[in-house]
Structure formats: C-alpha cells, structure tokens
Symmetry: C2
C-alpha cells in the first residue's frame, strides 16, 4: 500500500487527525486514468477526496465551451469539499492517479461533528486563500506575471530549485486565463532572459529567484 503522506512532504502533518483517521479506516482507494473524470460539474457533493498519487485538476466549462481550471491538487491534498449542495467545478485526473475517497457521512460518524467541521474548515481555509489569490491574479496581472507566479508556486511546492510540471500548456493556460500560445511565448521569453531554464517542456529550473519573485508581484 502506497504511503499517502510521504515523510518528506510538508503537507503530511497538515490535516486534522480525525479526518485522517477516517480516511484510513473508511477510505476507498480508487484509481483514475489520465483525463478520467473523478466527479462531474453539477454532481452532488457527498464525498471527500485525498490525492495519494498523481495530480488532479478541477475545472468548469461554460455553456459555449470556454474552460476555467480552478486548481491543481497534489499528493496529500484534500479536494472535493465545495461548500454548496453540488459541485460547481468538475474534477479530472491530470495523469494516472490514485485517490482516497470517503463518504462524508462516514467521516461524520467516525469523528465528532465539531472535529469534522474544524478539519473541513482548515481545508477550506487553504481553498479560499487560493481562490482569493486567483481572483487577484486573473483580475490584475499581466500574462507575464501570471506565468511567473505560476512557476513560482510550482517551484515552492517542490521546495527545490527545479520542478516538474504535471500539466500541459493547455491546462496552464486555462488556469491562468490565457491561451496556450501566450503561455508558450511567456515561457520562451522568461527563458530568453535566463530567469528560468527548460531542459524539457515539462521540467524547469529557476535561475533568478529574485527576478521571478519581482515578476510574480
């Protein structure tokens, strides 16, 4: 059985223990293939999900086909806890991944209600902060700044100076509110200025942290 929280993962200790226990005892391990749907936009909210392996993206597609990616979730992250009765964003597997799924009612039965609420509250805290930052980025940042911010956040997650992009350019674009071409251009631009280096299209290394930080605003 794969360890859900690798020991070197800073998020390992994060979730409240009641919730963690519930996952361990009542969770069902599911496997999803690349681009497979985990839950659909407008599905009822009744489960909690935790990424074990792989990366998950949430997205919302408008009636006329425009897509906005809401977030990316990495191993250890909780997702699917949208506040309303049904999901306003769908969730899909970015690559092949394993997910722990638990019924909310099972968690509620296992832990005290108060404890459950607190655990969800904490996860929602992260979610809301992400949303707030996303709003500011989409509302007020240039394409260059958005791409820089994105690379920064990915790099911070890894801790190291270089990191892998789990997603392709289209997913980046849909997260950043840009087109795939603009994302690509900004990446080459940043490379040209030797701020980042891309040994391959999915792998990058930050060369000038201060320059990138300044751009990320």
């Amino acid at each position: 059985m794969t360890l859900a929280y690798p020991l070197d993962d800073p998020r390992a200790a994060r979730p409240a223990s009641a919730l963690s226990d519930a996952f361990d005892r009542h969770g069902v391990r599911m496997a999803y293939a690349r681009n497979e749907e985990i839950y659909a936009q407008d599905d009822a909210v009744e489960l909690l999900y935790r990424v074990v392996r792989g990366v998950v993206r949430t997205s919302r597609v408008t009636a006329d086909g425009r897509r906005q990616v809401g977030a990316f979730y990495y191993p250890g992250d909780l997702f699917g806890l949208e506040p309303g009765p049904d999901h306003r964003f769908g969730a899909e597997a970015l690559d092949d991944c394993e997910i722990l799924v638990v019924r909310r009612s099972a968690v509620r039965a296992a832990a005290g209600d108060a404890e459950l609420d607190r655990a969800i509250l904490e996860a929602q805290r992260l979610e809301m902060e992400r949303l707030q930052d996303h709003v500011v980025m989409l509302g007020r940042k240039s394409a260059r700044e958005r791409v820089a911010s994105f690379l920064m956040s990915i790099a911070q997650r890894g801790g190291d100076d270089h990191a892998d992009l789990a997603m392709g350019r289209q997913d980046m674009a849909d997260y950043l509110g840009l087109t795939i071409e603009t994302v690509s251009r900004m990446l080459t631009q940043l490379q040209g200025e030797a701020i980042v280096a891309f040994p391959s299209s999915r792998r990058f290394e930050i060369r000038k942290w201060t320059a990138l930080e300044a751009l990320a605003a």
Copy 2:
C-alpha cells in the same frame, strides 16, 4: 435602534440563530463614513461584521498600486470572516454605513463551538461560491459579458427590474478587472442596444432580461 434585518429583506432569516443572537447581545454598532476603512488588508482577523445600513467593499491593493475589489456586501450580509490569521483584503465603507461588530471569542463563548463553526461554514459557503464565480468571470469572460453579469447580479439582489448601483464606475471596474473607460463604454453599448436603460448614472433598469442573461453567460 435601526432594525438590522428589515422584514422585507430575503436575507433576514439567513444567518444561524446562534450567531444572530451573539450579534444582538454582544455586537457593537459602528458608523463609518464614505471610504472610511473598516479593517485594513493584513490586519489580524478577530472580529465578525454584519452590515446594517450602507454597502461595504473589500479590496486588495498590490505593491505597485493595482487594486482588485473582492466583493460588495449589503445590509444583512456577514463579512470579515476570512479564513486565515489575517485579512488578505481590506474593507471600506462604500457610502456612509452602520456595521454591527462582534468579537469572535464572544461569539464562541455565547454559542457552542459547533454551532459557531456551522454558522461560519454557511457564510463561507456563500463567500466561496462568490469567489468561484469571480474566478470564472475574470478568467474567461469578455468585458461586455462581465458588465452584463454584474448588472444582472445587482438586479437580482433587488428583485425588481430596476436597481441602484451603490458604487461608482471605478469600483465596478476594479471588481470586474477592467478599466473605468471600458466599463463606461460597455454600459453605453448595452444602452444603445436597449438592453438596459440608465435614467441616471447610478440607477438602471433592465429592458431585455433574456438578452442580458444570454450575455451574462
């Protein structure tokens, strides 16, 4: 003493009673002048606020002076319950207004912890849905669509076909991620197509609901 929840206000019955009671018993009524700061960006989060009269906006200003408005709050709305230890958006009075303020710890003492959490959860639900919609709007909608959505949401609040804009063009622009000029142009455009009518710059009436709905996407 002004009645906090006018009887004809559909939001009157919304907040959980424990929280409502706490406001009534421990709340302090504060008055703020137009553009006065209620709390600052980066202030510690320790109070809960409820609008009694007037309108409040939350906003975040970046280091280089760009401003993003997060939300507008109307009488009956709870605000200030950001999830982190400190406020990522500041709050200011849009016009002269009265606010009920209560210390979180007072609420916690008055109600059971679980009850408090549930009440906050419910308010956060609204907040998160607002944020999600905001992200989609800023990421994927055109200027015309943003302005249309905004007018729709204002009109729905009033219920009636015509409504007052509590805010000026600059606040709209900063909420919609646009410039004041673009907002102005879109408004004249919509007027030109007889979709809305503006008897004065702060007051409007929707003439073609279906057309506006189609635009709001």
